[in-house]
């Protein structure tokens, strides 16, 4: 009996102690207490977008002045071209146009990806506004690339409402270009049809 009372007292003491030593917060509001803001790729890319677009436009060179074999992981480019074909795949989630740049006579095939899902990390890789070191880890770095691609769609591609009617039109393009074999893939940051 005595032992039971002591046991209960100890239990009460533990519960009292622990409940005195606990911080209860709303779920997901840790940041307010730790000062560490959880990384949000979309917010981050949104505020960076204007700078990045400007930077790419500023750095862009005419595609005819480049050795396309050295395009590799990405360069900023600008040129005028004629739309050869509009392609829509995956229920309109992977649209693209193939184009022929003005004054170009080589064997490379040029494609501009028009989303809404974008491949690659070309925008992130050509910009210098944010570096890998600014992020905590690899995961955040890749989330940032995806967020930038979303910015492309939101700010550049979607407003133009591109469809198969663009075939044969002339287009002015600024963007990040990468090459795989003899295919050049362009992710646009500025685009206008004539």
């Amino acid at each position: 009996m005595k032992a039971k009372i002591i046991g209960v007292l100890i239990l009460v003491a533990i519960v009292a102690f622990v409940s005195n030593q606990v911080l209860v917060i709303e779920k997901g509001t840790e940041g307010q207490y730790t000062g560490v803001v959880a990384f949000d790729a979309n917010a981050s890319s949104g505020s960076d977008w204007q700078h990045i677009a400007a930077e790419i436009s500023g750095n862009a060179v005419d595609i005819n002045t480049l050795d396309l074999a050295e395009l590799g992981a990405g360069k900023s480019v600008k040129f005028k071209a004629t739309v050869e074909e509009f392609t829509s795949k995956a229920n309109g989630k992977r649209n693209s146009i193939t184009i022929k740049p003005e004054n170009y006579s080589g064997n490379y095939k040029f494609t501009v990806q028009l989303g809404s899902i974008y491949s690659g990390t070309a925008i992130r890789d050509v910009q210098t506004v944010k570096k890998f070191g600014d992020f905590t880890n690899q995961t955040e770095w890749s989330q940032y690339a995806k967020a930038l691609n979303n910015q492309v769609h939101e700010n550049v591609v979607a407003p133009l409402g591109i469809n198969s009617e663009v075939k044969g039109k002339n287009v002015n393009i600024t963007g990040a270009a990468t090459a795989t074999g003899s295919e050049v893939l362009i992710t646009p940051v500025e685009m206008s049809f004539e």
């Binding site: 622990v18 911080l23 917060i25």
Partner: protein, 342 residues
């Protein structure tokens, strides 16, 4: 003349673990020049504390004639629970609870005691053999440890000032040049020695292990005594779960795997009889040192991990053989004394 010889041998045998410890220290200090340095000794002490605290709990269990295989897994589980509480808190509905480090320590010790209690209840009330029961809880605890994070590690156990849960790392740090674990080991050893030698409960542990039927006839509640032994073992394992997590600065679900064997080895080396009824805390402490010195000494001398295992195994078997020899000799001497008194 012969009798004097016997007595000399007896004295040597009784202090055998301590003698072995001294010989080991001498041997390793010759074999590796850096062994007797302060850094090395601090490292050895840090490791000894890990085996030693587990072995303290194990000593009580083995004295009552049982065995606790679950302690290694409890180390892993407690580490993961503590790491999780610091890194992610405890989410309940739309609230998240962040405990202070002292509260986490108290909660984790309760978890250890609870697992020990469950072991004890299954063994005594449901009559399942201790070996089987604790083998089962060993797997269950290891599974739970992995389940807590889906096998991942809790890497940031530093906590945040704002959440008021900073400080677990102090358990893995040095205080005045001595690892915190060593202080815990010292305090727990002291408490264990008092409990075993200076309280009625201590006698009851020895009585239940020595002759359970007689203990019951003396009115001792042998089931309760056994349950307490497992609770103590779980309590000690919880301490190691916390200290080990603090030392590593991270909680791994695989922590403590196989440590129960080190604890059993240290206990047996310390002279606790596997059949129950006899054992001392000081013996267990020395046993833990022997295990620690062998492990670290061999590593420093560049002995391969494979050979280390072989040597460790041989030492344990040898210790038990010597133990038996001592018992036989003791019985022989008692008989001799009896004949002389006739």
């Amino acid at each position: 003349m012969k009798k004097d010889n016997n007595q000399l041998v007896m004295t040597l045998l009784k202090g055998r673990t301590f003698i072995v410890l001294i010989l080991l220290v001498i041997f390793f200090s010759f074999a590796s020049s850096s062994f007797l340095s302060l850094n090395t000794l601090t490292m050895v002490a840090k490791h000894v504390a890990l085996y030693g605290i587990l072995a303290l709990g194990m000593t009580f269990v083995i004295i009552t004639g049982g065995i606790d295989l679950s302690v290694g897994s409890v180390v892993g589980l407690v580490g993961m629970l503590a790491g999780g509480l610091i890194q992610e808190g405890f989410t309940f509905g739309d609230k998240t609870l962040y405990f202070t480090v002292p509260a986490i320590i108290v909660l984790m010790l309760c978890v250890g005691c609870l697992i020990g209690w469950i072991n004890g209840i299954i063994i005594t009330k449901l009559n399942v053999a201790a070996f089987i029961t604790t083998l089962g809880t060993m797997y269950i605890c290891r599974g739970l440890a992995n389940l807590r994070s889906n096998g991942a590690t809790f890497a940031s156990i530093g906590g945040f000032e704002g959440l008021g849960n900073v400080g677990l790392k102090a358990l893995g740090a040095d205080w005045l040049g001595i690892p915190a674990g060593v202080y815990v080991f010292a305090i727990l050893s002291f408490m264990a020695a008092i409990l075993l030698n200076k309280t009625p409960t201590g006698w009851h542990f020895l009585a239940v292990g020595g002759n359970e039927k007689s203990a019951k006839l003396s009115g001792i509640k042998s089931d309760q005594v056994k349950i307490w032994a497992y609770i103590i073992s779980g309590f000690c394992a919880a301490w190691i779960g916390l200290i080990n997590t603090a030392q590593l600065s991270a909680a791994h679900p695989a922590s403590g795997d196989g440590w129960e064997m080190n604890a059993i080895a240290a206990t047996v080396l310390g002279g606790t009889s596997m059949s129950g009824g006899s054992g001392t805390i000081i013996g267990t402490i020395v046993g833990a040192f022997v295990i620690g010195v062998i492990n670290d000494g061999m590593t420093m001398c560049g002995v391969s991990e494979f050979w280390q295992k072989i040597i460790r195994g041989a030492v344990i078997i040898l210790a038990v053989i010597i133990d038996q020899t001592q018992r036989n000799l003791q019985a022989k001497m008692a008989l001799q004394a009896r004949n002389e008194s006739k």
